[in-house]
């Protein structure tokens, strides 16, 4: 029996942009079950990234509610939300956002250090994950010494390091060429096969093809 990893109920997000009210997300309700691989697609500016931010607790909806692993996000304070993201949700960004001054290994270790995991355990786990994402020999390279594809793999390892239940990815292949992006696609397939819940915002049709379900957004509304 499956359980809901993420539930959104009539979620709305409005912004005030100068004198104009922008409705980035309008009355979105959805349920993503544990272990599902969902792609969110749509044209630029349709609200995909905003929806992902709302589902991951990076932003709060103007109306409606979001539940992650049964927990309503609107009742959580900043500290609890941060903890939830640290322990239960992994994030992958289009621009990787690795710390350029740290090595690949140290970047992967960072979320574990935040949890208070000891140094040797951190090292072992980070090394394992770098091997998992196919970068065993790049552990001691600074982020700036890695290619785009390698940086994204390190970012994925960082997202996985605290063994989250959900991985949210925003255009994870957006900055990569086709061949490198294919490697990331393969990695996502592997993660899905390993039972991780994946929600991926993408323009990449190959990613959407891999997903078990595709949610289409237009003007902030689910259209398919």
């Amino acid at each position: 029996m499956t359980y809901a990893a993420i539930v959104a109920e009539h979620v709305e997000k409005r912004y005030q942009l100068e004198e104009q009210v922008v409705r980035a997300v309008q009355d979105v309700s959805l349920r993503i079950d544990a272990g599902e691989y969902v792609a969110v697609v749509g044209p630029s500016g349709c609200g995909k990234s905003t929806l992902l931010s709302l589902l991951g607790g990076l932003d709060s909806p103007t109306a409606g509610r979001v539940f992650v692993l049964g927990q309503a996000l609107d009742v959580l304070g900043d500290r609890e939300l941060t903890r939830l993201r640290l322990e239960r949700i992994g994030f992958v960004f289009q621009r990787f956002h690795l710390l350029p001054v740290l090595t690949a290994l140290e970047n992967v270790e960072l979320p574990m250090a935040e949890r208070g995991v000891g140094k040797s355990d951190r090292r072992t786990r980070a090394q394992e994950l770098l091997e998992y994402v196919g970068l065993p020999g790049r552990a001691n390279h600074r982020a700036t010494q890695l290619s785009g594809g390698e940086m994204q793999r390190v970012a994925i390892a960082r997202a996985l390091v605290n063994q989250p239940a959900i991985l949210l990815a925003d255009e994870p292949t957006g900055e990569l060429d086709a061949a490198t992006g294919a490697g990331i696609l393969a990695l996502f397939r592997r993660l899905h096969a390993d039972g991780l819940t994946l929600v991926v915002v993408t323009h990449d049709s190959r990613l959407a093809d891999d997903a078990g379900r595709v949610i289409g957004l237009l003007d902030g509304r689910i259209v398919s």
């Binding site: 903890r83 956002h97 140290e106």
Partner: protein
């Protein structure tokens, strides 16, 4: 990981970090010098006054020792009365006057101290012997006088006092023998001083010097408190001014309030410069990395960790610049001290920049606090920027 991360961040922009460190170094040196200057000369003066173990001074009413040409009269009786006071162990008179040494046909001006060699606190013997109390034919000369008059221990010199300006002839002459070379502790550099017994000095001064002294120095008994004894003496001897070392330092402080104000103003400017430098660097660094910081918060890195990391960078900058600033500050203090102590009339033993552990610790604490405080706004900015909006604004 905080320090490692902060250190690497600073190293990433070496030029910018080096410039900031240089700024903090200069600001620290200025702050240090101002802290040393603000109280240094007082401490130096206090040490000078206390150095020979005399706790109180008695001077003509309304004056301080060597402040005017005024003298105390009936000195013998006054000394006897003071010696009879409880808590007073001994009393030494000092009569300061002008005299001349005859060198062939020229008169060399000298400062003469008339003292009681058994109870004196104005010189120490460097070579030769001290005077005896009854010595009416002996003199101690300071090194500048010895140089100027080409005198050595055992030489004789003719002293002339009570000079008649009309005929350039002294009314009172005395040939004296140099008993020793002395270091006069209150003298300015190159001050041509000599010391003779009080009766000889009074003789050289003439009738104006009879039974007179410029001031008296009092040594207290071991258990006597200077402030209490001074208060009691003031009550019993209202015709003179009794000053403890603390009183004289307070007067000195009053007269040097300009230095104090200047040092406070410059020290404050140094602190503001430090805060602005470190704050600007950290603000620039945070703004540059604001999207990375937002991403870190997205993956669950707590606000405390981000704040700690930003403050750690400020701390490292302050520690690095501060340490270099101490060396620069000490070097500049020495250089400035050499300039300031060469002002005429200042005792050569005075120093304007005196290190004091309490003040140095205070300066270090203020500097570190300033460095950390400088990181507060950038840190606050880093952790309050809305995550989703920041990431969105940085998106391609």
């Amino acid at each position: 990981m905080t320090w490692h991360w902060a250190w690497r961040d600073l190293l990433r922009h070496r030029g910018r970090t080096a410039l900031s460190l240089l700024g903090v170094t200069i600001a620290t040196a200025l702050l240090l010098d101002m802290v040393l200057l603000s109280g240094g000369i007082e401490r130096s003066f206090e040490r000078l006054l206390a150095g020979k173990g005399f706790e109180l001074r008695v001077s003509p009413q309304g004056t301080l020792p060597f402040d005017t040409d005024a003298t105390l009269d009936h000195v013998d009786a006054l000394i006897s009365a003071l010696r009879a006071e409880p808590g007073v162990a001994n009393v030494g008179p000092v009569l300061g006057a002008s005299a001349f040494a005859r060198r062939r046909e020229t008169l060399v001006p000298l400062i003469v101290y008339g003292i009681d060699p058994d109870v004196q606190g104005i010189y120490q013997i460097e070579s030769g012997t001290d005077l005896r109390r009854s010595d009416m034919a002996g003199v101690l000369v300071g090194a500048p006088s010895a140089r100027r008059l080409a005198l050595a221990v055992g030489d004789t010199v003719r002293l002339t006092g009570d000079l008649d300006p009309q005929i350039a002839t002294g009314l009172r002459d005395r040939v004296v023998t140099v008993r020793g070379i002395a270091d006069f502790v209150y003298d300015a550099a190159d001050q041509p001083s000599i010391a003779v017994t009080l009766p000889l000095a009074q003789f050289l001064v003439g009738p104006r010097g009879a039974d007179r002294a410029s001031f008296l120095m009092i040594k207290l008994a071991g258990n006597a408190r200077p402030d209490v004894t001074a208060a009691r003496l003031r009550a019993t001897m209202p015709g003179v001014t009794i000053s403890s070392i603390a009183d004289m330092v307070a007067q000195f402080r009053l007269r040097l309030s300009y230095f104090r104000q200047m040092s406070i103003i410059l020290g404050t400017i140094a602190l503001i410069v430090t805060v602005m430098l470190v704050g600007t660097l950290l603000a620039v660094a945070v703004n540059e990395r604001i999207a990375d910081i937002a991403a870190l918060r997205a993956i669950g890195i707590g606000r405390q960790t981000i704040v700690r990391q930003v403050l750690a960078e400020g701390f490292l900058l302050t520690i690095g610049g501060g340490t270099a600033g101490v060396f620069l500050g000490v070097a500049t203090a020495r250089w400035l001290d050499a300039i300031l102590t060469s002002f005429p009339g200042l005792p050569a033993a005075i120093s304007f920049f005196v290190p004091d552990s309490r003040h140095l610790a205070l300066a270090a604490a203020i500097l570190l606090s300033a460095g950390v405080a400088a990181g507060i706004w950038p840190a606050w900015h880093a952790v309050t920027a809305p995550i989703a909006e920041t990431l969105r604004s940085e998106a391609p």
